[in-house]
């Protein structure tokens, strides 16, 4: 029964979404209060019914209801409960239900917490949100019904793809969708503003928390995905510039630009038309990502099973959404009143530089991702654009970005004194340059990239710390006074500082792990030892184990440092029984500063095993940085001026310097 309830709930949700897209829009046009607030009820209703559908699907997975085709294909009765639940979104149909659940949740959030948004604008936002929901619910109902039954019912399911039976990947899609779909709200705000033909500074203030929340989740989702790729794929790499990775990275880049331009829109009542364009582009890139991943038009190392018909449907959604939004933009944007002119050397000037660099970087990634498709379409051969392209285009754009990121928080609004700011930063600059010089001096291999990367990381972390230290007058005032200033500092300023410093942490991690990674590939017999980066890794042997739904060859490695055993590592080669699919589980010894990464290969038939050992210095910093960025976003979100629905304070406390993040 539960499958029919779920299917029915999806149909009801689609009908409610239709009402949600029509009534509040009409209400806003006629200034009809009841029609406008009907949208709030319908948005809540749509969320409740999608939740019922999602619950029904989850129930079918948890109880292993093998009369449902989707459960048969993606679950197995012998699977741990966690993976029965995560199996719900470990497949195309179920993940689309999750997508709609999050989409309707965001729409409902606008209804629940959008009390401070002007009623007309809010009604239009909810209507656009309903329209997007309708498109995706129709997509599920017409092409990807997760509730299809099978007859006769098979005795057991085929199991979830073993590579997805992993905690990292279990939570990667929900986080990524919170990001992707979160940008649907900023998109709806943009469309609603264009329909109203009016954008004021308040628009920027309303959009910022949504952009911030979506950006934070997308950051965490991408970080988790790359961490998973790192430990699960057994290549020791964390980012491959694969089309699927780029698909999530492009909205992140443009979303970052939006996050910053919305600040200018709010504070200076400028860049409004540009912010609207960015909001449209961010969600368009999210949809493009969905299309690329689901349609299989691009060859990728990691994707869903793909289906051209579904791809076509998403392409249609993409074309209507993007085409319609851009047409509306071209028609309405010229009528929006622009803000005043301002000087290049100022806070807003620095934020614009951020915007230009982020969008241009996103363009180069977009070009690299789609170029093979274009070449293939014109019959010019089959090519792939690999890491050398992205390293040669993306990284040079990030260097000036990071330089500017160090300076920007010191610049006041309207008009700044660049020389004065540089003078205050000379100590940090000196340290960064000294570090870079030391790297060139010590290391001759790849010295330029290493020196630049480390110098930039030191600059960014140092400048962020220096700015905060100056603001709270650390060591220049009694500790009590500094503490008081620190606690009085707006949360959004803390969030900015943490997120900027976190970017420096990520840069350091990428640079050091890329340049100083060492590896050993060899065969080892029990009793053999290998030396790597100051560690001695002894191979104790292999034994067969059976755990739950897989059988494994488990290697036993003893790590010693200076003759003292410090750790034991147990890499595995697993064979998942229902599907007879093998997977490799690397064993990783991680400290805050490095990873020791051991992969067990196949036996060589002479009593030994092929073994791959890596030492990846500073690689944990990449994910520590991603988590810090997320925390920075969350801390900023708790700022009372961002808090959705919080009353505006009439007077702001005087702060020593302009303090917005």
């Amino acid at each position: 029964m539960s499958a029919e309830i779920g299917h029915f709930a999806l149909i009801v949700a689609a009908i409610l979404a239709l009402g949600q897209s029509v009534f509040p829009m009409a209400g806003a046009a006629r200034r009809h209060g009841a029609l406008m607030s009907l949208g709030n009820t319908l948005a809540t209703g749509q969320f409740v019914f999608v939740l019922i559908a999602f619950g029904a699907l989850t129930w079918a997975f948890v109880t292993s209801d093998f009369s449902v085709a989707n459960v048969v294909q993606n679950s197995h009765s012998g699977k741990p409960l966690l993976y029965k639940i995560t199996g719900v979104w470990g497949n195309h149909e179920g993940s689309m239900v999750l997508w709609c659940l999050i989409l309707s949740l965001f729409g409902a959030c606008v209804a629940w917490f959008g009390g401070n948004v002007a009623p007309g604008l809010r009604a239009r936002v909810i209507a656009v949100q309903g329209l997007i929901g309708l498109a995706f619910l129709a997509f599920i109902l017409l092409t990807s019904n997760p509730f299809d039954r099978v007859n006769p019912m098979p005795p057991d399911g085929r199991g979830l793809n073993p590579i997805l039976q992993d905690p990292g990947l279990a939570f990667h899609p929900p986080l990524l969708y919170l990001g992707y779909v979160g940008f649907s709200v900023t998109f709806s705000f943009a469309i609603a503003a264009l329909l109203e033909g009016r954008v004021d500074a308040a628009w920027g203030r309303w959009v910022r928390p949504w952009a911030l929340a979506a950006w934070s989740f997308l950051t965490l989702g991408i970080g988790l995905g790359s961490w998973w790729a790192y430990y699960e794929l057994g290549w020791g790499g964390f980012w491959f510039w694969d089309p699927v990775e780029n698909a999530s990275f492009m909205p992140w880049l443009v979303g970052t630009a939006l996050l910053h331009s919305a600040i200018v829109a709010e504070k200076r009542d400028a860049l409004k038309s540009w912010s609207i364009l960015l909001a449209i582009l961010t969600f368009s890139l999210s949809l493009l990502g969905t299309f690329l991943v689901r349609s299989g038009v691009l060859t990728s190392v990691h994707t869903f099973a793909t289906d051209p018909e579904r791809g076509l449907f998403i392409l249609a959604i993409l074309a209507v959404t993007v085409g319609g939004a851009l047409l509306l933009y071209a028609w309405r944007a010229p009528t929006l009143k622009g803000g005043g002119l301002f000087r290049p050397i100022s806070r807003e000037g620095a934020l614009i530089l951020n915007n230009l660099l982020m969008t241009v970087a996103a363009l180069t990634v977009l070009f690299g991702t789609l170029y093979p498709l274009v070449v293939d379409t014109f019959g010019l051969g089959k090519i792939s654009v690999g890491p050398p392209y992205f390293n040669a285009t993306f990284l040079p754009l990030m260097a000036p970005m990071i330089l500017a990121m160090g300076i920007a928080p010191f610049l006041p609004w309207k008009r700044a004194d660049l020389i004065g700011v540089l003078d205050r930063l000379k100590l940090i600059a000196g340290v960064a340059i000294a570090l870079a010089a030391a790297v060139v001096f010590i290391e001759d291999r790849h010295s330029f990239a290493a020196a630049l990367g480390l110098g930039l990381a030191a600059w960014l972390i140092g400048a962020a710390g220096w700015e905060t230290a100056g603001r709270i007058r650390l060591f220049h005032a009694p500790p009590g006074e500094s503490l008081r200033r620190a606690s009085a500092m707006p949360r959004s300023a803390w969030g900015m500082t943490i997120a900027h410093a976190a970017a420096g942490v990520v840069v350091a991690g990428i640079t050091v792990s890329g340049v100083w990674q060492t590896e050993v590939i060899r065969t080892m017999k029990p009793g053999d030892r290998a030396d790597l980066a100051g560690y001695t890794i002894g191979f104790a042997g292999v034994r067969e184990v059976t755990v739950g739904n897989y059988r494994a060859r488990r290697g036993h490695f003893i790590v010693s440092e200076g003759g003292v055993a410090v750790d034991a590592l147990w890499p595995e080669k697993r064979l998942y029984l229902p599907q007879r699919v093998p997977t490799t589980e690397a064993a990783i010894r991680t400290t805050l500063f490095s990873d020791l990464y051991v992969v067990l290969g196949d036996p060589d038939g002479k009593g030994g095993h092929a073994v791959r050992l890596y030492h990846n210095p500073l690689v944990p910093w990449i994910w520590i940085g991603a988590v810090l960025m997320f925390l920075g976003g969350m801390i900023s979100l708790t700022d009372r001026r961002h808090r959705v629905g919080a009353p505006r304070r009439s007077a702001r406390p005087a702060s020593p310097r302009p303090s917005e993040a």
Binding site: G368, I383, S384, G386, Y389, A392, L397, I521, V581, D602
Partner: protein
């Protein structure tokens, strides 16, 4: 105006970077037959796609290098790879190897790709095999019916 100028400069810089990077950032995809007809020079990186020839896989004396032949059912090419093969590498199944030809005519792979899917057939490879009229995989089974080895 200043911002427009900065923006255009950045865009120009990006275009220059893109054009420069396209020279060596792009790798072509060839099947063994294409490798022969295009006369790919040794040392030039490209992606080799095909099926792992049944019975061709062997471990070399160092214990960690493997050699196998990649075939498109017309021609085949021998490949050497040092490292741990992906889990889904199987004889008779599709594979993509990234690397370059050596003077001896052997393909030395730096990376071997196999997807998280037991029926891995890269789209590029499937298209090229269809183009060559060598597509026999509707419904599975032996990819090259009159397997040459």
């Amino acid at each position: 105006m200043t911002f427009l100028a900065v923006g255009l400069c950045l865009l120009g810089m990006a275009v220059a970077l893109v054009l420069a990077a396209l020279d060596d950032g792009v790798t072509f995809f060839y099947t063994p037959s294409k490798v022969a007809t295009e006369a790919v020079p040794a040392g030039q990186p490209f992606r080799l796609g095909g099926l792992v020839e049944t019975g061709s896989r062997k471990t070399l004396d160092d214990g960690v290098s493997v050699a196998f032949r990649v075939t498109d059912c017309i021609r085949s090419l021998s490949v050497v790879y040092k490292g741990v093969l992906p889990d889904l590498f199987r004889e008779g199944q599709g594979v993509v190897a990234i690397g370059r030809l050596e003077e001896s005519g052997t393909f030395r792979a730096d990376t071997i790709l196999a997807k998280h899917d037991e029926n891995y057939m890269p789209k590029d490879l499937a298209d090229q095999l269809k183009e060559q009229g060598q597509w026999h995989r509707d419904g599975g089974g032996e990819p090259c019916p009159e397997a040459k080895s």
